[in-house]
Amino acid sequence: MATRDLTADQAVATDAAPAVRVTGVSQVFEEGRPPVLDRVDLSVAPGEFVCLLGASGCGKSTLLNLVAGLLPPTAGTVQVAADRPALMFQESALLPWLTAGGNVELALRARGVAKAERRAEAERLLGLVNLSGSEGKRVHELSGGMRQRVALARALAQDSPVLLMDEPFAALDAITRDVLHEELVRVWQQQGLTVLFVTHNVREAVRLGQRVVLMSSRPGRIAREWRIDISHPRSIEAPAVGAMASEITAQLHREISRHG
């Protein structure tokens, strides 16, 4: 597997190579201002589902952009066991002049899939997110939930073993989100993906993740992490999920009130 190395000089030798490894990463956007991220260490094992939790503005999207290679870190290294991790953006980032199928096909094309195979492959991927028959729909004809599913299909079309997701379901209603959680867990298990999932919804994090990592704000640091040993299928209403979520929420409140 190819390793993308953003600052080669600090590359670290590892025993069991993680799928994502962030080492001592700091990010400063404007000179003189406190760093948005401060010496963040995070590693995600292959096939692991990690949820990154934190208050608004704590630097979650920034960290994800760093891992996606959209932003070079001010300091530290980012290593990803994939040429290019797939990324689902916080906003609906479908291209509005293309159809649902066209958006997925563009990802296939960028990956070098032959023209003859693109259409069938796009149909298969849309089927995977339960959108068979919607290939020809324009983006504006889709509901918010359907758009996010197309975005998920497009991310899967990148065929990367690493999937980064930035609050992909934040703008959806509870029922649609439930359904998409189920869908996502199914795809993750079927494809053996490594998922790094950003959210500020504690229950969502516990519902999905095998591990929940809590970030503190200003500067963004890893504050704590929890293993979630609740077997799938989980329900967001399950008592075990609720109990874990309360514990994490209490910690999150403590993190936030440090700033008060």
Binding site: A68, F89, L95, W97, E141, Q158, E182, P233
Partner: protein
């Protein structure tokens, strides 16, 4: 990874699928109503301008009968109509429209190529944008008829002089339209292109250009309007037998013969060509682009 029985997987899964199907059905916009019938279209979009036109001709007829101006200065609608039929019959109308429209198309095509290249150049180089951008914007507000004397001095009474004026009128609008289109592309789209792994050329072709299309089209539309206006100004001034008979020249013939009905006929022809290009070329293209992106406003 979590363990669980195959049964719950299948059940839960089927369940979620049916919920999802229901949600999709609720969320999806209902089918658009069928296209309005021909009758409705006629009543809604053809009738109003026809009625207005009839009113206008009525007012004109009244002014003519009341002799607001002497008849040589303000001929009646019937006189103009018969002059129009004459120019059609002797072939001058068709010739003038053909000469001008073909010149307009050639000039616009040249402007399209040059304006697009200039727009790309302005976009790709910060330095060029800083140095040339303000001048291009300034040229946009300079009436291109101001170039006619210079063009005649450079190229005498030739087609080259006419095209020079047309280009100076249309190129700045097209270049600025493309640049404005690029500037309005949300940075998110470029990041999408990068995440998908498109290179610079791929992002230009698959992301940046399509995203900038509405602004570019606006520039093209304005470019055509400016090209057509500049062409008329140039034809009107560069009146010479060697340049053939365009609409601008026909207008000049009318003035020299003091034949007001020919002058009005020419003006109407110029107007009709402008409206026809707008309705037949730009309006449908724009409607299609906007509809594909869900940007049309109802009504």
């Amino acid at each position: 990874m979590a363990d669980r029985s195959a049964d719950t997987l299948v059940d839960g899964h089927a369940d979620a699928r049916s919920v999802e199907a229901g949600l999709d059905a609720l969320d999806t916009a209902p089918q658009l109503p069928p296209r309005p019938g021909l009758g409705r279209v006629l009543v809604r979009s053809v009738l109003p301008p026809v009625v207005f036109l009839a009113l206008l001709v009525g007012v004109w007829q009244i002014a003519y009968v009341a002799e607001v101006k002497p008849p040589y200065a303000l001929p009646g609608p019937a006189d103009v109509w018969s002059t129009f039929l004459e120019t059609v019959a002797d072939g001058r109308a068709l010739e003038a429209v053909w000469v001008s429209v073909s010149r307009g198309f050639v000039g616009f095509a040249l402007s399209l190529v040059i304006g697009t290249l200039l727009g790309l150049l302005l976009w790709s180089s910060r330095w060029v944008r800083a140095a040339v951008g303000p001048i291009v914007s300034g040229l946009q507000s300079l009436p291109s008829v101001a170039w006619v004397p210079a063009a005649i001095i450079w190229f005498q009474l030739t087609d080259a002089a006419i095209y020079t004026v047309v280009l100076l009128g249309a190129v700045p609008s097209i270049a600025n339209g493309l640049l404005g289109g690029f500037k309005q592309v949300p940075p998110l789209y470029d990041r999408v292109g990068r995440v998908l792994g498109l290179g610079a050329a791929g992002r230009m072709r698959h992301v940046l250009l399509p995203a900038a299309l509405p602004g570019y089209l606006g520039g093209l539309r304005q470019g055509w309007a400016f090209a057509w206006r500049s062409l008329m100004a140039a034809e009107l001034i560069t009146y010479s037998p060697s340049l053939g008979l365009g609409l601008g020249q026909l207008l000049n013939v009318g003035r020299e013969l003091s034949q007001m009905s020919l002058v009005i006929t020419s003006i109407v022809l110029i107007l009709v060509v402008g409206i026809a290009i707008e309705l037949l070329v730009f309006a449908p293209v724009e409607r299609r682009i906007l509809r594909n992106r869900g940007l049309t406003v109802g009504g």
